[in-house]
């Protein structure tokens, strides 16, 4: 069962993933990571593991795991 794993500490809140997710499954957290950014959060109910977030992220935040 594939899933998307987020590396919170790498995220810099650029929002590319939020804008590009075809299912609107990604939002930015209300809390901060250690660098002070609101990191990306994936709603696994809505996520279809298409991998677009992984492709657009400039900082390698997302990992697609089998």
């Amino acid at each position: 069962m594939s899933e998307v794993v987020v590396s919170e500490s790498r995220c810099k809140s650029c929002g590319f993933c939020v804008k590009n997710c075809p299912k609107g499954a990604i939002s930015l957290a209300h809390s901060f990571n250690s660098a002070g950014y609101k990191y990306a959060v994936v709603d696994s109910e809505k996520c279809i593991v298409c991998g677009i977030c992984y492709t657009v992220c400039p900082d390698g935040v997302f990992e697609i795991r089998e």
Partner: protein, 352 residues
């Protein structure tokens, strides 16, 4: 192939590996991550980290530390580096080594947060009072940032000169895989002041300026002879040679590769040292070259002047030198292709 790491974090770690013992500076976008990284990394290794009250205080702390013969670093951008110019002049006066990192951001005054190459003039000519030179190193990738930061401290100490690493906003923020060099031993220079007058007292106004001028000149000539660095592509048969550094240099390299694949005779000089300017690269250029084209990320071209001087020195004065200034943020390949065509059709006026 190493792990992915952000440019600013990588360059900070490279300074640590090179044996830096002091970071003193003030935050400014886009260099702040260097400081944030060092704020935990330096204490972890028992070294000194100080968030100074201003950029001016930061450079003066570096000056003091340099007098003690130890490796010191400060980092800033745009207006912050402007604040450091007086300190850089003082450090140069005493012929002390140190490294200054400029993560360049475009623009006058407060400027913007985006990449630019608008500091070329100031950093290669020197923005402080008096006659001095600084070595300026311009990386175009995260790996090169690491390699050049590691080298910067060696060059600074070898020649007792302020060495600037000129990164840029996009390079500081982007992530690339990167390998790190080994951790160096911490060193103290044997001429260092130790508070006990072990070495001759040095006070302003007590030296023979003419003698010092000759000594400095000889030192700068030695650097120009030995330390020019550049990357060259396709110069032997080039009809047009692009000259570009930093990330714009990398984009231009892609343009040159594609043009050459189409059979076009173009070449590239990508300066890695901006001072000393890589004049030697121009010796390798096809004597029948039709023109030089700088690709820069500023308003009206700054490096184009140095290219014109090098062309005059190494080739002839009747070869046109053009400039393609793309102002700020990013150079786009499609723009370079389009404007190169205009140059070839005689629709773009040369600068020199």
């Amino acid at each position: 192939m190493g792990d992915m790491i952000k440019g600013n974090d990588a360059i900070a770690e490279a300074a640590v590996r090179a044996g830096v013992q002091l970071y003193a500076g003030y935050p400014i976008t886009p260099s702040t991550e260097v400081m944030e990284y060092l704020s935990w990394r330096m204490p972890e290794l028992g070294r000194t980290f100080i968030q100074a009250e201003s950029e001016l205080a930061g450079i003066n702390m570096v000056l003091g530390f340099a007098f003690c013969g130890k490796r010191a670093l400060t980092a800033s951008s745009g207006p912050g580096i402007s604040l450091k110019q007086e300190g850089i002049s003082y450090i140069s006066k005493y012929r002390l080594p140190c490294v200054v990192l400029n993560v360049v951001r475009y623009g006058n005054g407060l400027g913007s947060l985006r990449s630019g190459q608008s500091d070329y003039f100031r950093d290669t000519r020197g923005g402080g009072n008096g006659d001095y030179r600084c070595i300026v190193l311009a990386p175009s990738s995260v790996q090169e940032s690491v390699d050049l930061m590691y080298l910067a401290f060696d060059l600074a100490e070898r020649y007792r000169i302020v060495t600037e690493v000129m990164s840029e906003s996009a390079l500081g923020q982007m992530m690339e895989p990167c390998e790190f060099p080994p951790m160096q031993e911490l060193t103290v220079q044997d001429w260092a002041l130790d508070g006990k007058y072990t070495h001759e007292r040095r006070v302003a106004f007590m030296e023979n300026y003419v003698t010092t001028a000759h000594e400095n000149n000889a030192r700068y000539e030695e650097i120009k002879e030995k330390e020019q660095r550049y990357e060259a592509v396709g110069l032997e048969d080039a009809e047009y040679v692009f000259v570009s550094y930093g990330i714009p240099g990398r984009v231009t390299h892609g343009v040159v590769n594609e043009l050459r694949a189409r059979g076009e005779k173009v070449g590239l000089i990508r300066p890695i040292t901006l001072w000393p300017f890589p004049e030697k690269a121009f010796e390798q250029v096809n004597p029948n070259v039709k023109g030089f084209i700088t690709v820069e990320l500023n308003d009206y071209g700054q490096m184009v002047d140095d290219v014109a001087l090098s062309v005059k020195k190494k080739l002839r004065t009747d070869i046109p030198v053009y400039c393609l200034p793309y102002v700020f943020e990013m150079v786009k390949r499609k723009d370079v292709f389009r404007d190169f065509e205009k140059i070839r059709q005689g629709q773009w006026k040369e600068v020199y």
